[in-house]
């Protein structure tokens, strides 16, 4: 592509301050996805029986007036002199500094090798756990679960969009290129599918996934359900573009040199819609993330003990939880931030690649 066009696109993109910030945040989020096991101080299934629904651990910097660096106090169990029940009390005599590359529970990094090094932690002998976002009803670390849950939430959107855009591009260009009854058939089919309300359709499709499936299969099932709905918007846009592209002389030229229809579609039509595909993809990722969250929130998606942001939120749906343990809603903030970042980046990409705004938000 001409360098001028690239330059103009770059300029238009970086004019959006928010998009730039969004890009950085997304970069950090995906780093978190890649190193999730390492960043999380605890395994996502690890329960701490004595620390159910505890609030976020307080991190201290000064011990009796002297600077110590970040540390947490230990906890000791004492008998309540009135009720004689066990209760926990901060034990200022025990100090556990938060260290980088601390030893913790063992896990398999990327399923390749076993290690017990975590990005940060208080070591295995601490009497108190380090719960940055508090604990849930089983005494699991909400922070660790949020970090590990990002793997599902952030990649389901990406993978789902990839499949949806792939399907949409192929089906849309077939529809636009051949025209006639193929076009009519595909377009009416899309119209019928699109006239179903979206969430019930998701739910109906998610219901098909057998409950006894292992979590990885469920994950891919969800991705397929999401992309099954998502491809239609893409297909419509691409069809419209192919309708005009197929009249270009180079398509006729390809035909008269004897190239097959499929090759013309894949090599000459789809690549010429690439910039639009990029924009459309970025703008449809947030929808996918929300979709995954919605399905998991409603209990039809990712199942315990696996985690995803939507599933974590679903544990915070009762009034009791919201009132007493509000820290369990923190994963929701991640959803909001991720969705907003994708929207900012998508808008900026659209301004950069598609100045005439032909792509609508899907």
């Amino acid at each position: 592509m001409a360098t001028q066009t690239t330059l103009r696109a770059k300029k238009a993109f970086f004019k959006h301050k928010l998009a730039f910030i969004g890009l950085i945040i997304l970069g950090l989020l995906y780093l978190m996805v890649i190193f999730a096991d390492f960043i999380a101080p605890y395994n996502y299934t690890a329960t701490h029986r004595d620390f159910l629904n505890v609030p976020p651990t307080q991190i201290h910097w000064f011990h009796e007036g002297t600077f110590m660096g970040p540390f947490i106090y230990g906890v000791k169990r004492v008998r309540d002199p009135v009720t004689f029940g066990w209760k926990q009390e901060v034990d200022p005599s025990k100090i556990y500094p938060i260290r980088l590359f601390a030893k913790g529970q063992t896990y398999k990094f990327w399923g390749l090798w076993e290690t017990d090094i975590h990005l940060f932690g208080v070591g295995p002998d601490a009497t108190a756990p380090l719960f940055l976002f508090g604990g849930d009803r089983l005494g699991r670390d909400v922070f660790s679960r949020t970090v590990i849950g990002s793997r599902v939430s952030m990649t389901a959107g990406l993978l789902g969009t990839f499949i949806a855009v792939f399907l949409g591009a192929i089906i849309g260009s077939v529809s636009g290129y051949f025209g006639g009854w193929i076009d009519v058939g595909i377009q009416r089919f899309i119209e019928v599918l699109r006239s179903f309300p979206r969430i019930p359709l998701w739910l109906a499709l998610a219901m098909i996934l057998p409950p006894q499936w292992p979590s990885t299969s469920v994950y891919f099932g969800i991705v397929i359900v999401l992309s099954f709905i998502g491809w239609m918007g893409v297909a419509r846009v691409i069809r419209g573009m192919v309708l005009s592209l197929r009249e270009k002389e180079y398509v006729l030229a390809a035909k008269v040199t004897g190239q097959s229809d499929m090759k013309i579609i894949v090599k000459h039509l789809v690549p010429n819609t690439a910039t639009y595909l990029v924009v459309v993809s970025t703008l449809s990722i947030p929808g996918m993330i929300l979709g995954e969250s919605a399905i998991s929130f409603l209990g039809l998606g990712i199942k315990e003990p696996m985690t995803s942001w939507g599933l974590l939120l679903s544990q915070a749906q009762s009034l009791t939880v919201i009132q007493n343990y509000p820290w369990q809603m923190i994963p929701g903030i991640f959803i909001v931030v991720a969705v907003m970042c994708f929207n900012f980046v998508g808008d900026a990409l659209r301004d950069a690649f598609d100045p005439y705004r032909t792509v609508e938000k899907v």
């Binding site: 001409a2 006639g180 270009k248 002389e249 180079y250 006729l252 030229a253 390809a254 035909k255 008269v256 040199t257 004897g258 190239q259 097959s260 090599k267 000459h268 690549p271 010429n272």
Partner: protein, 322 residues
């Protein structure tokens, strides 16, 4: 080489039946340049697309036969036809600028076309393409083959187009106004290049144009088309010396010539009728200066007033002329 008999290509539209090509017959001989001449909308391009099997039928209604190497092309399967395109019939377009996909280098596109038809390796195809580019006079072919279409000028690209088409060694080359989009000096270069390569390879050329000057330069025989008909067939020499059909006479008169200096050019009054409302009888009669009583009523058949000449006009009903 190729023989077209009573070819009809009709399109059904909301306005009515469009008889874009209506019962035309012609023969293209080996190593001959045949020119189809006519105004825009007379059916030249549809004729060519029908020959190439690129008019979908249905919806279009196609009748007649196209004989090539003893076979009727109309009976070929889609896949068989596809293999004919490029290898047997090459085609060059009017707009070289838009005939290349902007996303690929010209080399990619030449190699791609070659490999559709010939089982050659990528490097072999590239070598052949570079040779071909040198043949059509592209300087520094080795470097230029890596360039994108937008980096080349129109004349260059038309040469590349010719190189691409001829590298497939087609038996018949169809040139659809190949020089119209080029400026005059480049036009002459491209035309003489085509002429030269045609002599070398022995290809037959079907030349589509509205430019009589170009025709005089390259063609052996001329068929004049008007409103879906071929109204006159002649050799170049005969046609320019003695045009028979009133339409041809009008066309020749309206060329820019020295004797008209300072005066308004003569022109054919009226306009080409719309394709869905061709007049009854002779299709040229509303514009014809020599219109007779019979013209609006009955369509003229082809008469042969002189040997080797064919003309669709009632003026020549009596047969031979002086």
């Amino acid at each position: 080489m190729i023989q077209v008999n009573h070819l009809k290509t009709w399109f059904k539209t909301d306005e009515g039946m469009v008889k874009a090509v209506d019962d035309i017959s012609f023969t293209l001989n080996q190593t001959e340049v045949l020119a189809l001449v006519g105004e825009s909308g007379c059916g030249k391009s549809v004729t060519v697309l029908t020959l190439m099997g690129l008019v979908k039928s249905p919806p279009a209604k196609i009748e007649g036969e196209i004989l090539y190497k003893g076979r009727n092309l109309r009976c070929l399967s889609k896949e068989e036809y596809r293999h004919m395109r490029g290898k047997e019939f090459g085609m060059i377009f009017q707009e070289p600028m838009s005939s290349f996909d902007p996303l690929y280098t010209i080399g990619d596109q030449m190699i791609e076309a070659l490999r559709v038809h010939y089982p050659v390796s990528e490097s072999e195809a590239k070598k052949q393409s570079i040779e071909m580019l040198q043949k059509v006079g592209i300087p520094e072919a080795k470097r230029r083959i890596e360039e994108y279409p937008h980096q080349m000028s129109g004349g260059m690209l038309q040469r590349v187009m010719i190189a691409l088409t001829l590298s497939l060694e087609p038996k018949i080359l169809i040139a659809d106004e190949p020089s119209t989009a080029l400026d005059v000096t480049i036009q002459a270069q491209v035309l003489s290049l085509m002429k030269k390569l045609q002599k070398e390879t022995g290809t037959s050329i079907l030349f589509i144009t509205h430019d009589l000057g170009v025709v005089a330069e390259v063609a052996d025989r001329i068929h004049v088309m008007y409103a879906g008909w071929i109204v006159e067939k002649a050799t170049v020499f005969d046609l320019f010396k003695r045009p028979l059909h009133p339409y041809t006479q009008g066309l020749l008169k309206s060329r820019v010539q020295r004797e008209y200096k300072g005066k308004t050019l003569p022109f054919i009054s009226g306009y080409v009728p719309r394709a869905y409302e061709f007049p009854e009888g002779c299709r040229f009669h509303p514009r014809c200066p020599k219109v007779m009583e019979i013209c609006p009523k009955t369509a003229p058949p082809a008469f042969e007033p002189l040997s080797g000449r064919e003309v669709k006009c009632w003026l020549y009903e009596k047969g031979d002329i002086q």
